[in-house]
Amino acid sequence: MSSDARQKLFFREAIIRALREEMDRNERIIVLGQDVAEFGGSYREFEGLFERFGRARVRNTPVAESAMIGLGVGAAAAGLRALVTITYMDFLMLGLDPLVNYAAKARYKTGGQIEVPLVVKTTAGAKGQGVAHSQCIEAWLMAVPGLKVVVPATPADAYGLLKSALRERGPVVYVDHKRLFPTAGEVPNEETLIPLGEAAIRRCGSDVTIATFSFMTRIAERSAERLAAEGISCEIVDLRSLAPLDMATVCGSAGRTGALLTLEEGQLSCGVGAEVIFRARESLANLRTARIGALPAPVSSNPILEAACIPDVERVTDAVRGLLASR
């Protein structure tokens, strides 16, 4: 198999492959979640794992997010490696106590005696499911010392980041986006790990840097296409990991373009964009900046209201034009 051979995989296939490889490699890895066994997960992203690894390692749980995460934390702290899947990020709120008050602090508070190699896998973003199934709270997690957060935008990154997350010594929150599951992309046939904390430049450009992540990377790409037709050249930085955050790549790009637009699907207030822009400006004088995110409102399942609430190509292209006009 030539080392650069690749294969087109859907997100769910990339996730399954990462889990299968890591579970083959390390029999301490267990998967806990609702409908993950025979059913294979809400997005069929666990299909085949139950058949391959059995009920001891791939376990259906009740609808009890707090205990699901607590069990994963305890099991990981005691020598297993747990992946706990929380179908929607909104329900992560039910399990923040074991995740934030215990897992993120265990190593610190025990003076290094206890580590929690846990991966909490969840999905963010809007896809017609309404006010309690659409939220993006990545920014909350980024701010928790002891937690790492990854947010892949391509199947290759989903594969490589999930594998790395499953080898971390501490807790990692891995966030998929509901709108990415129907998408496919090239994934190397050779086993490949993507280190946490490295952003990727998705498109090179000279006029403006768009720093984004997860599904919004695709909105950025479409916006860049449209702006290219107007002669505006966008560079797209896919953060991939929010904690740790790769500011070197962001600043490298923004330093070249002189303009930085952040794009996220979640709320702007105390969001990813505010953080990225603050830190970029620490090292880049007179950088022009702007941020785009959801309107300050819940996200309805109503197609018209959902579309109005979250960022789209129009809002991104307008923001870029505005930013460059401020030149």
Binding site: D35, E38, P298, I304
Partner: protein
């Protein structure tokens, strides 16, 4: 409610969902098909000033509670003629003025909220009760425990109804819940509890009435488990995991034909009367669809209205 009215209410729900399924613009839906008797039996014992809260599987309870089919259809299709102006939609139907405080799509998320509504009722509207309808899946959540305990301590007028259809998505109840009977969960708190056949609307009504009256008259919270069957898959977006044979057997337990056949056998419902009932319902649903179709979608500016 007499049994003809119960039958009519169940037929209406069945026809409503069938009409909804014929459309391509409903996104996806969690249907109540097979579970109509639980919603109808429960609502038949609720008074005007009582309130009902439910899980996301809320079409049957909303209609059984007396919401206008046209308004419910409009809400589910995202039209402003819905009681929530099309903003709540699936999983979040609500019409407070009709005693339907509403659905909430977070499993077990409505339990402590319902207890709070019951606290307000206890202090402000003695004699009224609050009913909360939830699935078996919600019984694995700590919210049930916390709510049972506080409701028992404070003797809240709360009728907890578990619509146990045996599944949480694909997970059989036996794999997710250790108790023999889910009504056993009320025991340690000294909460009166019963389990009934949720496919028998009269049985649901009678048990609900008995428990509701106890709660209304100061007994505090009560717990009713209804054993039901889900005729469709978890949602129209989720694949069915049960075998065709299994489904065939399950569908034989239809609460609607069961009641209708009993009535006919007892001579309580003539074939022509049954036809007429079905015809009435058909017309009501057709009108509901026309109403919803005629209603406008919200203006995009409503994306930020009624937030703070």
């Amino acid at each position: 409610m007499d049994r003809i009215e119960l039958l009519r209410a169940m037929l209406l729900i069945r026809a409503f969902e069938a009409a909804l399924m014929r459309r391509s613009d409903h996104g996806f839906q969690l249907l109540s098909e097979g579970q109509e008797a639980v919603a109808v039996g429960l609502c038949s014992v609720l008074g005007e000033r009582d309130q009902l809260l439910t899980s996301g599987r809320s079409i049957a309870p909303a209609l059984a509670r007396g919401l206008e089919p046209g308004a419910v259809m409009a809400e589910l299709l995202g039209k402003t003629a819905g009681p929530c102006r099309g903003k709540g939609g699936r999983g979040h139907l609500a019409q407070r003025s009709a005693g339907f405080f509403g659905a909430h799509a977070v499993v077990a998320g409505n339990l402590s909220i319902a207890a709070g509504v019951a606290l307000a009722a206890q202090l402000q509207e003695p004699g009224t009760i609050v009913a909360c309808l939830f699935g078996d899946g919600a019984c694995g959540a700590g919210a049930l425990h916390e709510t049972l305990n506080i409701a028992a301590l404070w003797k809240l007028p709360l009728l907890l109804v578990c619509d146990n259809n045996g599944y949480s998505v694909s997970t059989p109840r036996s794999e997710a819940l250790a108790p023999k009977s889910l009504s056993d969960l009320a025991g340690p708190f000294g909460i009166p509890a019963r389990t009934v056949d949720g496919m028998d609307v009269a049985a649901v009504r009678d048990a609900a009435r008995e428990l509701a009256e106890r709660s209304r008259t100061g007994a505090g919270p009560v717990f009713l488990e209804c054993l039901s069957e889900r005729f469709a898959s978890h949602s129209t977006a989720v694949r069915e995991t049960r075998s065709a044979a299994e489904m065939q057997a399950i569908r034989k337990r239809c609460p609607i034909s069961r009641l209708a056949d009993n009535l006919e056998a007892e001579g309580g419902l003539s074939a022509s009367a049954r036809k007429q009932l079905e015809e009435e319902v058909r017309r009501a649903i057709a009108a509901a669809v026309r109403f919803a179709e005629a209603a406008p979608y919200p203006d995009p500016s409503e994306a930020v209205s009624d937030v703070v």
